[in-house]
């Protein structure tokens, strides 16, 4: 242990190399995931804020700079408070306004559509804001040798950039398609729209680079800033491959879905006659789309690995530069194995829950209409039997996968060049009091 630590004397200001390592066993995370799942059940889900915090503390502590651990100092209480505030300020008003709109414009599809459109745009405007705030909270709770990280900028500015970099090209494509449709025929406009949407995907590398620059340039460790110097150009060669691959995969998935719907009058039955489909009839569709998402993630891995290396390679701190060592193949295996783990966990949970229902629950029976009453109490019993295995298994696999992803990225991140650690002082930036409410509501807090 002793040898890992830099044999530096008392508080030297001499620049020294920084060694980044990730030292942790993913096996232990299985036990933690299981315990967290059980505690979530016992507390009706409220423990999830503390569960998330303990997972982060473990991941942060496994990250070693020159042998010394990084500390996560956030608390479950902060996450709970942040969530409760957003729940009161965003979730409850949205639910109530939804009820109000249904009451005021009973059954008017136009009013409901307009309301939902406005809501989607408002949400989309808030997503970037939420990402920034979550990142700011996490960095402010990240310490190494007692020195805090920070994010010193405006969530609003980042949120707006997150919005317009996608909304502007989308609007441009839609307006162009509209004009063409008006000048020629609706079908031509539709084709232009489809092409416009596909072409619009080409803004993604530029957008990712722009957002990365914005957030990295706001980052601080202590009183020292990080800087970003990357441009989007080099990302495009790999992107061509990812874009083409995804286009093929989604075209194939749409084709398969269409072919399946056309068989045995499924389209007519489900969408025209409105006969609800049976579970076994939906299974092939679910399989097609799960496979599509996996294939898409696999194909995109090479681009994502390159993007990660590109981002790292243009991030500088005190004269030193980061270096990413991700490879497409290794990232692909990570993504694929995490997917298989999650699916396997869910199937296992369903098998356990199904067995429990078979043993202790109430057998399923066909119900034709409302006049024939379902028994809610018995339904509740079945729900109580199947939910615990699902909650435990999903918590377990999610914890495990999260740890593996962190290990993947952190063990492939290097810092080239010496840093004068003694010159880095505690920053003066203010610490947000609560964490991440918005990001939790949008479910975009990856770590």
């Amino acid at each position: 242990m002793h040898s890992i630590l830099q044999a530096a004397g008392p508080g030297t200001d001499q620049p020294e190399p920084i060694d980044i390592r990730f030292d942790g066993s993913s096996g232990r995370m299985i036990g933690l995931g299981f315990i967290n799942g059980v505690l979530k059940i016992l507390t009706l889900g409220l423990y999830s804020f503390w569960a998330k915090t303990e997972v982060r503390r473990r991941i942060w502590a496994a990250t070693r700079l020159n042998g010394e651990p990084v500390a996560y100092t956030g608390t479950g209480k902060e996450l709970l408070l942040g969530f409760l505030i957003v729940f009161g300020v965003v979730v409850i008003p949205v639910m109530l306004s939804g009820v109000a709109v249904s009451l005021l414009f009973a059954g008017s599809k136009e009013a409901l559509g307009l309301y939902q459109g406005v809501l989607y745009i408002a949400f989309f405007l808030l997503v970037g804001n939420a990402i920034y705030r979550a990142q700011r909270y996490r960095l402010s709770r990240t310490e190494w040798r007692g020195i805090r990280g920070g994010l010193d900028g405006s969530p609003g500015r980042y949120g707006w950039m997150y919005f317009w970099t996608l909304a502007a090209p989308f609007t441009a494509a839609a307006v162009l398609a509209g004009i063409v449709a008006w000048a020629t025929a609706p079908a031509v406009g539709g084709a232009i729209m489809l092409l416009g949407m596909l072409g619009m995907l080409w803004v993604l590398p530029w957008r990712a680079n722009k957002l990365q620059a914005a957030i990295t340039n706001d980052m601080r460790f202590g009183d020292r800033p990080l800087t970003y110097s990357g441009t989007a150009g080099p990302l495009y060669k790999r992107y061509l491959f990812a874009w083409g691959g995804n286009a093929l995969i989604f075209a194939a998935a749409l084709g398969a879905t269409g072919a399946y719907l056309m068989q045995e009058d499924r389209y007519i039955n489900w969408f025209v006659l409105k006969i609800p489909p049976a579970l076994v009839e939906l299974a092939p569709l679910a399989a097609i789309w799960v496979l599509t998402l996996i294939a898409s993630a696999v194909v995109t891995s090479w681009y994502r690995a390159m993007q990660m290396n590109h981002f790292a390679g243009h991030t500088h701190f005190e004269g030193a530069t980061f270096r990413g060592e991700a490879t497409g193949r290794s990232l692909m295996w990570l993504v694929l194995s995490n997917w298989l783990l999650s699916i396997g966990g869910l199937l296992a949970a369903l098998a356990i829950g199904g067995t429990l229902i078979f043993a202790f629950g109430t057998a399923p029976r066909e119900v034709i209409d409302e006049v024939a009453a379902p028994d809610r109490a018995a339904g509740l019993l079945n729900l109580l039997l199947i939910m615990p295995p699902i909650i435990i298994m999903t918590t377990l696999t999610a914890t495990f996968a999260q740890f593996r992803s962190a290990r993947y990225f952190l063990s492939r991140l290097k810092l080239d060049g010496p840093v004068a650690l003694g010159a880095i002082l505690q920053g003066a930036h203010k610490r947000p009091a609560r964490g991440e409410g918005l990001a939790q509501v949008f479910d975009i807090d990856a770590f």
Partner: protein, 379 residues
């Protein structure tokens, strides 16, 4: 208190800069003793002021400590022995202690909340139903229109004037028996499924499938009486309030990431009424039919019909989604309840001519959107 007399190597940071100094760390009687050299400095962090960067596990190989007595400062001790002994001196740093400390209030809180809910229901008070009772009539009607619009989407309204008049006649007869100030509005939809449901605001939806499969006007009257029974008991209003509350609760419980589950919760809430609610509606139906002097044999016949279809269906059809969460409807029991009622003088629910018109109600259909907001005539 075990005391580790041999000093252990550690790294001390004062939290003012990112540099660190070598330290010698010792587990003393009352706290962790930290000694720094050049310049010489010694400090003691009391055990109860300690915090660890991560819970100290049995197999921990090192530990990063801070103390509330010296904010900002931290000491890192890369020694498994030190970590193991620290667990004994400062047991509040172990994973088990930390987890229980955080989970305990919520475990007890959840138990108390569940006990409270159980108590309320055991006392026979339904808070949701009380809320449903104070909803203004105009809100109910609008909720009902929204519900009808979303449930019957894509189906046309049956609108042959004579057929609609026949149904109005039947509804008026039963509504009078219910003592309602306005008659229940009944809309028939061109929909082959055998179905009928009550929505908030005294509105009932029936399908063409039900009218066609019914063997007599008394059967239709029985079903309508049952749905009006739901309306009298405010079951639809209660169901909607419960669905909204449940969605909020699920969202809260899932820490906000329960989007999908919230929808599933809504679905479950909308699956239907409880067995108790159905029983209440049946009892209301029996009373209504008697007050309206319509034979309750029709309702019994209808239950029999549903039972037969269920039995046929069981053989031919595969399971539908969520059937797993539904259970055996006690249709046979309900039929028995109706059959056991005493006979009373009755007349057919509709005369033969009106009945024939009702059966042809779907020969003319129209777009339901154009009919929104039509009110029933006051009694």
């Amino acid at each position: 208190m075990p005391s580790n007399s041999t000093a252990t190597y550690g790294r001390f940071s004062d939290g003012r800069s990112a540099s660190a100094r070598d330290a010698s760390v010792n587990l003393g009687l009352s706290g962790v003793e930290i000694r720094l050299t050049s310049p010489d400095q010694q400090m003691i962090w009391q055990y109860d002021t300690l915090k660890a960067a991560e819970p100290v596990r049995t197999h921990a190989i090192d530990v990063l400590l801070t103390s509330t007595s010296q904010p900002g400062a931290s000491v890192f001790v890369p020694s498994p022995d030190f970590a193991r002994n620290l667990r004994l001196s400062a047991p509040h740093l172990t994973a088990r202690a930390e987890r229980w400390r955080h989970a305990r209030p919520w475990v007890f809180g959840s138990l108390a909340a569940m006990g409270f809910v159980a108590l309320i229901y055991a006392a026979g008070w339904s808070p949701i139903r009380s809320m449903a009772g104070v909803l203004p009539q105009s809100w109910r009607e609008r909720l009902g229109e929204s519900a009808v619009a979303s449930m019957t989407e894509g189906h046309k309204l049956c609108a042959s004037p004579a057929g609609v008049a026949a149904m109005e006649k039947l509804s008026l007869r039963l509504s009078k028996a219910a003592g309602a100030s306005t008659p229940y509005k009944v809309a028939i939809y061109d929909w082959p499924l055998l179905n009928a449901f009550a929505v908030p605001g005294g509105q009932v939806v029936m399908t063409k499938g039900l009218i066609e499969k019914a063997g007599s006007p008394d059967e239709v009257a029985g079903v309508l009486a049952h749905e009006i029974g739901h309306g009298i008991e405010l079951h639809p209003e209660t169901g909607i309030i419960r669905a909204i509350g449940l969605a909020a609760a699920v969202e809260l419980m899932m820490g906000g990431s329960g989007g999908a589950l919230a929808n599933m919760g809504l679905l479950l809430a909308q699956l239907g009424y409880t067995r108790t609610a159905e029983h209440e509606a049946d009892l209301q139906a029996i009373t209504l039919l008697k007050n309206a002097a319509i034979s309750n044999k029709g309702l019994g016949d209808f239950f029999k019909r549903v039972e037969t279809i269920e039995d046929e269906d069981k053989v031919t059809k595969t399971l539908k989604p969520f059937d797993l969460l539904r259970t055996h409807p006690p249709t046979a029991e309900r039929e028995k309840l109706v059959r056991n009622q005493k006979d009373y003088p009755s007349t057919p629910a509709l005369d033969e001519a009106s009945w024939q018109e009702l059966k042809r109600v779907c020969t003319i259909t129209k777009d339901p959107a154009k009919d929104a907001g039509v009110d029933g005539a006051p009694l």
